[in-house]
Symmetry: C2
Subunit: 218 residues, 2 copies
């Protein structure tokens, strides 16, 4: 399957040209960052909570303390929406009206499932950790049984999912194009700075390649 | 009023020390970025959609096409949640379990109201534009009547609102602190790049100070 099947809930009605359903595009956006916003409702009131995630093939994992209200609720397989957004630029048109933003986003809807098997759970945690910092899981002290028990991991399948992308310059009205007003795009991106070692760290312990790569990318 | 009143829906239960309710902290987070995630439910299914916003005193504004499904729904004063998140750093502990993220976030819940008066609407659009790029509204061609009519603007009061902040180094267990594993924080931030002029722009039109300031901040 090269593409997710758009449903009435994931089909973009306005500006359908910005909608993308192919796996490659969806996966590339999900792999380009690691913070998502999780939406769920309690007694009709929606809540949106940021958290980290990892992707493995056609599912994402989120995790947290077993005591987390959000995770306990979601483990009950209530409807959820997970949205991932990358801000790529400010689009400055000559008219205030045509100002816009360049971005890539993915919206996943569905129901999350609880990962109970300890081996699967550790594997999912490895996916999340290495999604954020490739190779970090293998460097870190692995979780012990009490830590695994204190952690809840959920999986959300990529089934009902869509991507939305805006790229390119501002699109002003014909009659505005000669106005003496600066127009263009200011690119935006997230960057990693210089690693700050923990004050308790033995100064002989060097910054590993996994961490150096983050700052080099930025 | 220096502080918002925590309610049962905005009080942090786990890690209450990360919760903040004072106006200064909430406003500073809201003013540090301009993309929020809006949560709403349709027939029990939550949706989370990214959009830009602006803040004016104790309310935020969001806007979009009058035809937008989300805005039409929210204008009906259904329960909404708007969340703003700033990623400040990756927190790399010696143990996989204590890995974390430094961040600042604000969660606003309530009901949005439609701004109908054209003068108020233009003023709210000015707030949004200048929240993103201070001074840009005054440089751009202002909206005409058809553009104003084609735009829906909603206000959401800052009443039921909380901030959540994690800062500082990793907190490893005592017995892990001498492990020969690098630990520390990798700071993360969003930066603006070099402005890219629109290809149709007269090369004699210089980048205005409002835009230069964005890249200088980055």
């Amino acid at each position: 399957m090269d593409s997710y099947i758009p449903t009435s809930r994931t089909t973009l009605k306005r500006r359908p040209q910005r909608g993308h359903y192919d796996r490659e595009t969806v996966h590339a956006i999900l792999d380009a960052t690691f913070i998502c916003h999780v939406g769920f409702a309690i007694e009709g009131q929606p809540y949106v909570i940021p958290t980290s995630y990892g992707r493995d093939d056609d599912r994402i994992f989120i995790h947290g303390a077993a005591a987390s209200r959000m995770l306990r609720l979601l483990a009950g397989e209530v409807p959820v929406c997970v949205t991932v957004t990358l801000l790529d630029g400010l689009v400055l048109a000559r008219s205030a009206f045509h100002h816009s933003v360049n971005y890539r986003s993915v919206v996943i809807i569905g129901r999350a499932g609880l990962i109970e098997d300890p081996v699967e759970k550790a594997q999912a945690l490895r996916v999340i950790t290495n999604h954020i910092v490739p190779g970090r899981w293998e460097e870190a002290r692995q979780p012990n049984d009490p830590e695994l028990r204190a952690t809840t991991v959920l999986e959300l399948p990529l089934e009902e999912v869509s991507a939305k992308i805006r790229t390119g310059p501002p699109i002003d009205d014909e009659e505005d194009r000669l106005l003496p007003i600066w127009a263009g795009v200011v690119p935006m991106r997230q960057v990693a700075g210089i690693p700050e070692p923990d004050s308790l760290l033995d100064p002989g312990i060097e910054v590993p390649e996994s961490i150096k790569r983050l700052s080099a990318k930025g």
